[in-house]
Homo-oligomer: 467 residues x 2
Amino acid sequence: MAGAPATNKTAIKNVVTALAAAFGNRLVTSQAVREQHGNTLTWVANQPPDAVVFPQTTEDVQQIVRICAGHDVPIIPYGTGTSLEGHVNAPLGGVSIDFRDMNKVLAVHAEDLDCVIEPGVTRKALNEYLRDQGLFFPIDPGADASLGGMAATRASGTNAVRYGTMKDNVLAMKVVLANGELMTTARRAKKTAAGYDLTRLIVGSEGTLGVITELTLKLSGIPEATAAGVCPFPSVDAACNAAILTIQSGIPVARIELLDALQIKAVNAYSKLSLPEKPMLFVEFHGTDASVAEQSERFGAIATELGGGPFDWATKAEDRNRLWQARHDGYHAACQLRPGTSAFATDVCVPISRLAECVNATQAKTAELKLVAPILGHVGDGNFHLTMLVDMNDAAELERAKFLIGWLAELAVSMDGTCTGEHGVGQGKMKYLLAEHGAPALGAMAAIKRALDPQNIMNPGKIVTLA
Amino acid sequence: MAGAPATNKTAIKNVVTALAAAFGNRLVTSQAVREQHGNTLTWVANQPPDAVVFPQTTEDVQQIVRICAGHDVPIIPYGTGTSLEGHVNAPLGGVSIDFRDMNKVLAVHAEDLDCVIEPGVTRKALNEYLRDQGLFFPIDPGADASLGGMAATRASGTNAVRYGTMKDNVLAMKVVLANGELMTTARRAKKTAAGYDLTRLIVGSEGTLGVITELTLKLSGIPEATAAGVCPFPSVDAACNAAILTIQSGIPVARIELLDALQIKAVNAYSKLSLPEKPMLFVEFHGTDASVAEQSERFGAIATELGGGPFDWATKAEDRNRLWQARHDGYHAACQLRPGTSAFATDVCVPISRLAECVNATQAKTAELKLVAPILGHVGDGNFHLTMLVDMNDAAELERAKFLIGWLAELAVSMDGTCTGEHGVGQGKMKYLLAEHGAPALGAMAAIKRALDPQNIMNPGKIVTLA
């Protein structure tokens, strides 16, 4: 019952027949739909599933899993397909479960600051739904991802420095296990000491241990006041040191983002801004009018001390939105730096004290390799992204880009950091896990995988390889 | 290799001989020391280990585990023995590993706001060590517990509403697995998406999956300003509603503790205070001078709106310390309510919207059972403690107290809460896990336990029962 699942044609055919009987036209096998569900947003080849099914209930998902398990056929959960490391590819074939139709908000408990949702709800849809109640869900990875997918990949993003990542904001989940049983990971209490932390085990497991069919999420109150601004610095070091001092001083900054000079150049062109082409911090503060003013002032003093400035403060919502829209469009802006190329993003995270050194070394290595790759960083967490613009017709350039990803992963690990702060492992980062975690930890991950998925049918070929 | 470990006398004798040869007088088998290491702080009978060993290094721990594993002999990690649910008892005999001598702070990374320590460092010792650097470790369960034990039991306490629990403040650990291998759960990056969250799996696993030999902890800056105060309320409902509104308004309260009228009576007598004998909130705010003043003012407005007051504010450190010392002495104060009795603490945690209802029902049931049991609550988290003062010579009273614990656990679970918010499972709360988690989740916990500890030698008889 262990090892690679059978991907023989007969098993697939039997599964497709059974699913079609149960789900009718909610089971799709067209080439276009299958390829769309194997989309990787990387240079990893598209490996489409054999079929795509659209469940409407948890019971549907249990039925799908039981049918697949009965034939050793892989299952790949699918949210919006915005993951960046090949998480939704189907290297061994199988059935993609698309949560498009499981997109209801089931309950909002305003007094408890939580809500219960289906996994296909996207973060923007949830925030739209919550706005009237003065609440919001703070995790913002940029893309309008599904919340099931965000939990599965332990997503974070710009607000994480203040509000944490998905691991901090998922209270509980319902998860269909490989045997078709429905596991509830926890109840709605804000904290618990009642046994193993199944919630945190499932968050970040990328569908390899079970399929999430319901989430209970922590919510936050929409802050009374928000202030934002941008500040240029003479160097990456100065900007990083400003971020370190901000965090150390206990300023509860909501967002603190580094854009390197090249990224600013891209943003200026794309968003019609005229920011100085230097390393810049984009910052945002949440609180009351008075506390936001105080935080801004204190941050300003730190920035000045480190040679930063002049400040450009935006307390008006429209100015603020324009700035943050420009930040959020950073990826699209980067793409325009070299029209005709493909953009590939990678991310690492290091202790904040090593961040400037890591960013500087990355810029130098990028130049040495004659690559174009602006940098965007969630610097309060020591996390940054490198967006490589690669001419896919130039095989040598593509090889240099692949080399740079591996080089950066190894550099981050050598600095006591991680090969991925928020994009996840998927297919792309598996090869770096041994260096990062060591054999005993990887062995423990494999043992847990085998214990919960002895047939290896849950998104196989991601995170851990079973011997 | 599965099931209950062999506890035959020959195996124990062989292990003691091997440990004595390796550790000399750091291996102790005296009756007094063994009994002290089986101390449960509950009415669960003392079940002493067969021997106690005092390692000095991670390699020592690996050697101990390998010797025990070679003879199927259980291993029970021991910090300071302050756990409350029989975690350190040895129901199947075995070897207690006492971390008394592994008490060094190995590194403080002030820029990264983290430190690396051995598991025997206590929270007070760590904070003493850090004070000169303007840093502190915020988790405060009351007792001066070891940080290894606090991680193992997922401890929290008064500051958790603002700073989180141990799950939020442990970045990484070194853990000796059942096979003697040393696993590193994560690196020092503030966040990661690189595979299963082994850190959160070990936090709260109570020594049943491995033995913690090193911890990397998040630190916080000592706040520039602190304000604290006490406020009486006409009812438990009013006090709980004030807590809900405080959290909902986004006031970043650092501590918000409920003491019921009986607990206030106990505190007044013990700490020579003259607080009104009503439900009271003890609150504390951290921040800058201005933000602390603003938070206090806003909390005051909420309290007044709910019929609370008058306020007694203490901005002077000595007044504040006197109040919080009284709060921390709550357990000893409770004991004096009925001299000659024994005090037994239990805890539950519910969604905050159900807290008042849960506390009121608990007070009524306590009265109905003719028990004396003051209540203390970390109400920002929906978590509260019941301290039962039981005449151990009255068998009927003891039975009623045991009944009350089970009744309260079931009530909390029926309110979508947990049978323990912070004390953990140990031996005492195992019987409530099925109702709380359901069979699939308990099955997953057992599968994980079997996968990482196939011989069932790691603190067996706690959390999960293996069939």
